[in-house]
């Protein structure tokens, strides 16, 4: 119980402090930074992984590459990459943070996109070609809409991991909500650690909700089978 009370006290202390809500170390600024890092990393990952997944899933060539490289990328320690790129590129730019995050985000998107496309019923693919759709049309008008739930799932998993992991950016002196956590830990200000973590979890939940909404809007009810039968 005392745990819960302490937790609540911290939240009040953190969110209740008006100074927290402005300035370069305020919640809005940090949130924005966090959003920038995560969004940039995710966008890059999507730009890399989705086309690659589509290509490999569609042509059926390079399946082994996907599996192996996805596993390899999952195994890469983000902290290690972060340090490596700081040492290589200096701590001033955002790339030492963005590159590891992209590497983190690529595997789930790649694997899900690939599996999604590959998993489309071959009969469907056949029917599409049989009706005279060209390769690109088959991909864009049939395979992608049908595989969309899986593709979005991959993006969602990646987004959440990225949001949670962007925290580490603070270790090298960059901003984001991780600042609250690292600084709070350094000064043993648990209110800040807890407040920052709660912000990140909320952020992740908002991301989940956004993806759920995106799924509702973009995935055909015929695929999600959302409609009641009769």
């Amino acid at each position: 119980m005392s745990w819960l009370i302490a937790f609540f006290d911290w939240l009040v202390e953190f969110f209740g402090d008006p100074a927290r809500w402005s300035g370069p170390d305020g919640i809005p600024a940090r949130l924005l930074e966090h959003l920038e890092f995560s969004a940039l990393a995710l966008a890059l990952a999507v730009l890399i992984a989705v086309p690659l997944g589509l290509l490999i899933g569609h042509t059926g060539r390079g399946e082994v590459v996907v599996v192996v490289s996805a596993n390899l990328a999952r195994a890469l320690p983000t902290l290690g990459l972060l340090v490596m790129f700081v040492l290589l590129l200096g701590a001033a730019s955002v790339w030492p943070v963005i590159i590891p995050l992209v590497l983190l985000a690529v595997p789930p998107i790649l694997v899900n996109t690939f599996e999604g496309i590959k998993g489309v019923d071959p009969e469907l693919r056949d029917a599409a070609y049989g009706m005279g759709l060209r390769g690109g049309q088959v991909l864009g008008r049939v395979l992608v809409p049908v595989a969309l739930p899986l593709i979005l799932l991959g993006c969602r998993l990646s987004a959440i991991q990225v949001v949670a992991t962007t925290t580490v950016a603070a270790y090298t002196g960059l901003g984001g909500l991780g600042r609250f956590i690292i600084d709070g830990f350094a000064t043993k200000d648990y209110a800040r650690v807890v407040g920052g973590s709660v912000l990140i979890v909320l952020f992740a939940l908002v991301v989940q909700i956004l993806f759920a909404l995106a799924q509702r809007v973009t995935v055909s009810p015929g695929v999600s089978r959302r409609l009641k039968v009769r």
Binding site: D17, R179, T187, K188, D189, R192
Partner: protein, 286 residues
Amino acid sequence: GGGSTGGNPLDTTSAAPSGSASGGGGKAVVGSFDFPESVLLASIYAQALEAKGVQVDEKPNIGTREVVIDQVKSGGLTIVPEYNGNLLAFLDLKNTAATTDEVDTALQQKLPAELEVLDSSPAEDKDSLSITKDTQTKQSLNTMEDLAKVSKDMTFGGPPEFKERWEARLKEVYGIEFKEWKSTGATTADALKDGSIQVGNVFTTDPKMAANNLVALQDTKNIFPAQNVTPLLNKAAATDTIRTTLNDISAKLSTQSLLDMMQKIAVNKDEPATVAKEWLTTNGLG
């Protein structure tokens, strides 16, 4: 921001203090802060104690003072290489003691019951506000008083806890206020060099000072207290073996030897443990 640590329910923690001196050597957990010099000092302590038959457990690189002291209090750590001035500032922010003696005396009064400090070593590693030689020439800054005039346009960088401890004091004593405070951990020196900050908090024994052409501004009003290397102990776990061993080390340690050793670590990339061992052997303590 409120950095209050008072009333934190987690301050009294569970880990039981390791049982006090038992027969031969006893046991000790030697921890360190998350910067190389602290790791080096901890390694010196640990290896010296081992040589004396103490069973040592090392926990290097834990984090900041705020975290580490807690662990010493609770007994999670037995020994940490401390700096007397910073420790005092941590325990009593308002204290203005400056010289080694003043600081040590004040420290004895303020030290919580669970803790114990041993003799301070002559070796010292002071905090500083540092700037690049470039900035120094351009703006002709030499002292912290000079800095006060231009600081409003400057960005400061240092470890996160530095702001908590010094923001108010700097303003009060020198009238220094910065445009922005940035958290730069181990990269403060690099940040100074690439210009993302103009003033940084670097230790005077940090080899990066020389390597990056940095200069420390003179602390004319002595707000940065003496920073002699001083072992901090958990009283319950301290034994006489530990006390004598560590006091012997403190006696032999000098600022120059600290500088030399840090040079080996930073430039030659020798391992702290190796450097520590070397020093102990040379000084007949290993």
